[in-house]
């Protein structure tokens, strides 16, 4: 018999964890001498009170959709992909090369080919740690951490010494050609008669991210491959007994995970900056960990968590603008969310399980 109903596991525990994180964040804000209620008010108006705010919230959320899904897919196979940051950086590199060197007639074709480039590069960056985990038993957490740093060095070298246009000062590529620039939500919604902020960076890749959610949902729960991934994550010995090859499954899972991180570049590099800069990922690869944990590794949960973190990032930027609270507050909140929904999960779970068990005994 299960200790508690499914809704408690899927909804109640994340909500309680989130509340705990919120309470501690409020205490932190109080301690640095600001008002938590005013801060929350500012964040809500700043992130959700205008189409400009929504434009940024959705832009950030799109990044987190990709990285959150990436962490979630790997987690289903029992793998902790902490290398999303590096995979997204290298994905950006692949995308930049495609956009700079191939002339495209229209943005839609550009997006398609660039997505393939970004996905391939991201997957390639995940392939080596995946191979080492599958074949040599090297711990994937450590190797993906190392690959984050190697990716940063590679990107640094490529931007400073290879891709930087002659005479330019800052380490960045040239601006992508006009046909490789994506339409923003403003341009998409205007024909429908909906006013949307012109200057917000949310763009067509939001729909790519949403489509990715649906595809990953189908993949994990409605394909033989998804079944193999989940079986491996539950028990490697059981999976082997069922005739599943762990090496093959680990490789495929990590390639998908890396490709998803790489795809993030279609949003932040192609959709927003329209050139590749040094710190394009801005830690989104790591936020994917918090997003996947909060979303319980389910694409719909990841979607909700991505919106939440998009709200936090845009709201945090507004806070930094109007109050003395630096935007690093968001990093603290992010840490608390990871701590409570991930590492301290049992602290919330065990008491709740006890409460449900006590109720069940009374009813029996």
């Amino acid at each position: 018999m299960e200790k508690m109903p499914k809704w408690a596991d899927v909804v109640l525990i994340p909500v309680i964890s989130l509340l705990l994180a919120a309470i501690i964040s409020a205490i932190v804000i109080l301690l640095i001498g600001e008002s938590p209620m005013e801060a929350l008010d500012l964040m809500v108006t700043g992130a959700l009170g205008s189409t400009y705010g929504w434009g940024y919230t959705l832009y950030y959320a799109t990044n987190f959709l990709f990285t959150g899904l990436a962490v979630a897919v790997a987690a289903h196979a029992g793998l902790f992909n902490i290398g999303g940051e590096g995979q997204a950086m290298i994905g950006g590199l692949g995308l930049a090369i495609v956009c700079l060197y191939i002339p495209f007639p229209h943005w839609s074709i550009a997006l398609l080919v660039a997505a393939v480039g970004a996905g391939l590069f991201g997957a390639a960056w995940a392939a080596i740690p995946a191979y080492l985990q599958a074949k040599r038993g090297s711990h994937i957490v450590i190797t993906t951490i190392m690959f984050n740093f190697i990716a940063a060095a590679v990107l640094n070298y490529m931007l400073v010494s290879v891709l930087k246009p002659k005479g330019a000062m800052d380490p960045a590529t040239a601006k992508f050609p006009e046909t490789a620039q994506l339409p923003s939500l403003h341009e998409i919604l205007a024909p429908l008669g909906i006013e949307f902020s012109k200057s917000a960076p949310a763009n067509v890749t939001l729909f790519v991210g949403l489509a990715a959610c649906v595809v990953i949902w189908g993949l994990i729960w409605h394909t033989p491959l998804g079944h193999e991934i989940r079986a491996l994550g539950k028990s490697e010995r059981g999976a082997v007994y069922a005739g599943i090859s762990p090496v093959r499954t680990v490789m495929i899972t990590m390639l998908i995970s890396g490709a998803l991180c790489g795809l993030m570049a279609t949003n932040n590099v192609m959709g927003e900056a329209e050139r590749l800069v040094l710190n394009a990922t801005e830690g989104a690869g790591f936020i994917g960990i918090a997003v996947a944990l909060m979303g319980r590794n389910h694409p719909f949960g990841v979607f909700l968590a991505a919106i939440l973190f998009g709200f936090l990032y845009q709201g945090g930027a507004e806070l930094a603008l109007w109050t003395n609270i630096p935007s690093e507050l968001i990093v603290v909140i992010q840490a608390l969310v990871i701590l409570f929904t991930g590492a301290l999960d049992n602290m919330v779970r065990i008491p709740i399980e006890k409460i449900f068990l006590a109720f069940r005994k009374e009813n029996a």
């Binding site: 301690l31 902790f80 080492l132 190392m146 640094n156 690093e328 992010q334 840490a335 701590l339 590492a343």
Partner: protein
């Protein structure tokens, strides 16, 4: 490259290796007891901030060191609560600690000092200054002769150069770090506590059967790790540099983790690995690119080399790195 330049690079190597070594030994204690610790970075960062902040306010660097150690141990305690008491995922807990430190340090620094996430610069008493060993040429000789120190050292003989530039003149924490290596070896391999600590990382059930507390040992191990990370962070902010700046650990915790794997969880090898990675950092600091047999090696290769070497070691192509067997698994006592 002349002899003096070589010595200067080695001198810088020692300075760069010190925080790596302290953090690496911290990881050694923790991982030998079966607790993965990817929160080394966060603990160092937290300690760097609190040591610099307290040293700046009180003007006493020793109080700063204590504050640094205290804050680092607090994070260790949180890691223990999550990964030992509540048997959570140790890797996720470590990730959370790193973010917590990276956010909180800037938040508190802004609130206390309003200097864009840094502490005020530290002066004489607020810093760990270099110690002049006997017979070494140091600042006092330079003052007596009324000439710059570098000139005096340039004129000295080879042994005096080696002694004055490389061995003498470091802050006390550098010597502490070096002494921590034999001490760690002795504790781990020559004491009963060390034997139990290693056993708890290999086979906690056996230790439990012998009537020794697995939790107690693991908490002790991460406590020691907290102290060592605290010293490492304090050295960064009050020895190597004069004050805290945002994200000043800049990945050193991860390099220390790499060094730990490179050393295959052994103290003396940790010293070697940290000196090697320190040398890479020192070289990258001093030279923009290195000419090696007509090929110019970009500085980014130096940055990435510790990580590449670690992956190669992990892959088992050059000797196999086998971590403690019970690493990363929470211990569930039978009920």
């Amino acid at each position: 490259m002349d002899f003096l330049t070589l010595i200067q690079v080695l001198d810088s190597t020692v300075r760069m290796a010190t925080p790596l070594l302290l953090a690496c030994l911290a990881g050694l204690f923790s991982e030998r007891a079966g607790i993965f610790d990817i929160g080394l970075e966060g603990k160092m960062l937290m300690a760097a901030f609190f040591s610099a902040a307290v040293a700046a306010v009180t003007g006493n660097v020793w109080l700063g060191l204590l504050a640094g150690i205290g804050s680092s141990m607090l994070l260790s305690g949180l890691h223990g609560l999550a990964s030992i008491t509540f048997r959570g995922n140790q890797l996720i807990s470590g990730v959370a600690l790193n973010f917590l430190a990276s956010g909180l340090t800037v938040l508190i620094a802004e609130s206390w000092f309003q200097q864009g996430g840094r502490t005020p610069s530290l002066f004489t008493k607020g810093r760990f200054n270099g110690i002049e060993l006997p017979f070494a040429i140091g600042p006092s000789e330079a003052e007596a002769a009324d000439r710059p120190l570098s000139e005096l050292i340039k004129e000295a003989n080879v042994i005096q150069q080696l002694y004055s530039e490389l061995i003498s003149g470091h802050s006390i924490l550098v010597y502490v770090a070096v002494l921590a290596v034999p001490l760690t070896w002795w504790i781990l391999f020559r004491t009963r506590f060390g034997l139990r600590l290693r056993a708890v990382g290999e086979n906690p059930a056996a230790v439990d059967t012998a009537g020794v507390s697995v939790r107690g040992l693991r908490f002790a191990a991460i406590g020691i790790a907290g102290v060592l990370c605290g010293i490492a962070g304090a050295y960064l902010a009050t020895g190597l540099q004069a004050g805290f700046v945002k994200e000043m650990t800049s990945g050193r915790g991860y390099i220390a983790l790499a060094a730990l794997i490179f050393a295959k969880w052994r103290p003396w090898h940790a010293l070697g690995a940290c000196l090697l990675f320190g040398l890479l950092q020192a070289v990258a600091l001093r030279f923009q690119s290195i000419q090696l047999g007509g090929v110019s090696i970009p500085v980014q290769v130096m940055d990435a080399l510790p990580y590449i070497l670690t992956v190669v070691i992990l892959a088992g192509f050059v000797g196999k790195a086998i971590p403690p067997r019970a690493g990363g698994q929470p211990y569930v006592k039978e009920r």
